[in-house]
């Protein structure tokens, strides 16, 4: 089978000593940074980007695979032990995970989340391989109008699924699009939205967006809420392992969580956070131990943890298959590809199979490494939380600065990132979601390009372009996404279901 031979080729690439080392470094750094509170996968990748500048693209992406899966995993440790989720996708894990830790079952909670992450990560990588290959075959038939429509779906999904206020999410998306359009228009060579500032001609890099909006704003946030910081950490009592009963209760939850996570993650715009919330709701519904939920039910940890890790694999489907990111994290990954002059999508499968399959193979390897490393090293991860917070947050600013400066060696970028940090802080304070901004920055120029190339195909007839059968169907889906949150909220209100209302809350990843 072609799939198997491609994958074997990928393993041949990924299993060289150097690439194994890169995967290992990626996994360790990704977990270490992911453990830290307030730092999600998008930011982890942005911060660690300069580390890969000197690597060849294959090595760099193998390291990214490790960082990505490591960062997804890292968040669960803080959720369970400190009740302070390291990233939004682990918020649900804290509900029952922290309760388990309080009862002295921290070891079991950590074990179920580690093994669940491994199961989910492996299943999702298999799914990624199968669906991305199918998508690639279909994607060749898609023209600019369809690609335009798919990006509109991604934007409407992100807009409708993040944040509590629709106009605020809409604004966040538009802000991202606007930032993305700044600079030289590559079709006509005209400058757009630069207002006479020469330094803006190159445009605003999404990495600046991620570091400003997520890193600096987080430091400002910490400073602004200094007096209300209070954390109590549970210690790990007993071995990091599960009893036979806990294990057998976890297995079905892992599998359900993996399936839910992968398919929700593969939808553009729907994040790991939503996948973990849905998984939690389902686990609660099917469980024989409903009364334990909220008081330390192991299913409430196993399902959502599997779901958020599977979603990470699912996110890569549209990125690798179509070249279209569906989340803030994959938007940063796309930016990383672009730094190497690579455009993910169907073409990359034919031009650089070593890279694509090397990345996929390294995801399997990263999963195994995470399983082997994480449980024994959990003590070290917890130690990271001992770094005095003032030094930690000061250090984040310094590392962010190195990351920004090393991109273009441009002092003006530092000004931009500072401005974005302040904007990010204000948006966070007044409940504007940040994820759509990041996605907008990346999709802005892509949407513009495909819209205009599509219009050339139809001689400037917008209606003809949007009513091509495939385009119309895809835009119909976009419309559905825009109506969905209203429908869910109405339904939730009618049934008095607060868990459904929660689903439409913030998703910065």
């Amino acid at each position: 089978m072609e799939l198997i031979s491609s994958l074997l080729g990928g393993f041949a690439t990924a299993l060289t000593p150097a690439n194994l080392l890169y995967a290992g470094i990626g996994v360790l750094l990704g977990t270490a940074i992911g453990v830290l509170p307030g730092i999600g996968p998008a930011l982890t990748i942005s911060l660690l980007l300069p580390l890969t500048f000197k690597l060849d693209p294959v090595g760099a992406f193998i390291m990214f695979g490790g960082i990505y899966y490591g960062a997804m995993y890292g968040g669960s440790t803080t959720s369970i032990l400190v009740n302070a989720p390291g990233e939004s996708a682990s918020v649900v894990t804290a509900l029952d995970g922290y309760q388990m830790a309080k009862k002295g079952r921290a070891g079991a909670a950590l074990a179920t989340s580690a093994i669940g992450s491994f199961v989910a990560g492996t299943l999702a990588t298999i799914g990624l391989m199968v669906f991305a290959t199918i998508l690639v075959e279909q994607a060749v038939k898609l023209g600019p109008p369809e690609l335009f429509a798919i990006m509109i779906v991604a934007l409407s999904a992100v807009t409708s699924l993040s944040g509590t206020s629709v106009p605020k999410s809409v604004f966040a998306t538009l802000l991202g699009l606007g930032l993305g359009l700044i600079g030289l228009d590559n079709q006509t060579g005209q400058l757009r939205l630069t207002y006479g500032i020469n330094e803006l001609e190159e445009g605003i890099d999404v990495v600046l967006g991620a570091i400003g909006l997520f890193a600096l704003s987080e430091v400002f946030w910490y400073a602004a809420t200094l007096r209300s910081q209070d954390e109590h950490r549970e210690s790990i009592k007993g071995p990091v392992w599960m009893t036979r009963e806990e294990f057998s209760r976890s297995v079905p939850s892992w599998l359900r969580g993996s399936g839910i996570g992968f398919f929700i993650g593969a939808l553009p715009g729907a994040g790991a956070t939503i996948a973990s919330f849905i998984s939690y709701a389902i686990e609660k519904r099917v469980s024989k131990h409903k009364d334990e939920f909220g008081k330390g039910a192991i299913e409430g940890v196993a399902g959502p943890e599997a779901a958020n890790n599977a979603a990470a694999g699912g996110h890569l489907v549209p990125l690798l298959g179509l070249g279209i990111p569906g989340s803030g994290t994959t938007a940063v990954m796309l930016a990383a590809f672009q730094i190497y002059g690579l455009q993910p999508g169907p073409l990359l499968f034919t031009t650089r199979p070593d890279l694509v399959w090397g990345l996929i193979a390294s995801l399997y390897i990263a999963n195994v490494m995470l399983l082997v490393l994480n449980l024994p090293l959990v003590g070290i991860w917890v130690k990271l939380l001992d770094i005095p917070k003032p030094l930690l947050f000061a250090g984040i600013t310094v590392i962010s600065t190195i990351g920004v400066y090393s991109l273009n060696r441009n002092a003006f970028d530092l000004v931009v990132v500072f401005a974005l940090g302040v904007i990010g802080f204000l948006m966070k304070r007044y409940d504007y979601p940040l994820g759509p901004v990041i996605l907008g920055i990346v999709l802005g120029p892509l949407i513009d390009n495909n819209l205009r190339r599509g219009m050339i195909l139809t001689d400037g007839n917008l209606v003809a372009m949007l009513t091509r059968p495939a385009t119309a169907v895809i835009l119909g889906i976009a419309l559905l996404f825009l109506v969905l949150p209203f429908a869910i909220r109405l339904y939730g209100r009618a049934r008095g279901r607060s868990d459904l209302a929660m689903l439409t809350e913030s998703d910065p990843g």
Binding site: P167, Q190, R192, I402
Partner: protein, 149 residues
């Protein structure tokens, strides 16, 4: 804090930003080739942004609950923003080592650390480590400032 509804203030700020975007959009020159002018999408983004501002204002005026905000710890917040701005401005002229070490020590103090000696040692070690990793290990050039390295 004031008693104004932050969502109304937000809507006003968004409206201004939208007008700036529209102004930037409509003044983009159209070289005349291509079916769609490069001015179209920026202008459209600005117009939709204006619509989102109006939407937000209408929701707020109709009594949508304003966002819950905790009072800000003004002093550490303002000092942090100022220290960050100073660090970013000094990064190139003073160089990585000097600006980052000074910033780390200052920032740790602002955020409530009272161990000046410990922080200074930790900062120097941390900066030295980053320098070795990025400049020596990864050959990424960082600004030197007045120092020879």
């Amino acid at each position: 804090m004031t008693s104004r509804n932050p969502d109304l203030v937000g809507a006003a700020v968004i409206a201004v930003l939208a007008l700036v975007t529209i102004a930037g959009g409509v003044t983009t020159p159209d070289p005349g080739f291509g079916v769609v002018s490069p001015a179209v999408l920026p202008t459209l983004v600005g117009v939709l942004m204006l619509a989102s501002a109006a939407w937000l204002a209408v929701e707020a005026l109709r009594g949508a609950p304003p966002p819950k905000t905790e009072p800000i710890d003004r002093q550490p917040f303002i000092y942090t923003v100022a220290a960050t701005a100073a660090f970013l401005l000094a990064f190139v002229p003073l160089g990585f080592i000097i600006s980052a070490t000074a910033f780390l020590i200052a920032q740790a103090r602002i955020l409530g650390s009272s161990h000046l000696v410990r922080d200074s040692i930790a900062s120097l070690l941390f900066i030295a480590g980053l320098y070795l990793l990025f400049v020596q290990g990864l050959t990424i050039a960082l600004p030197k400032g007045p120092l020879p390295f």
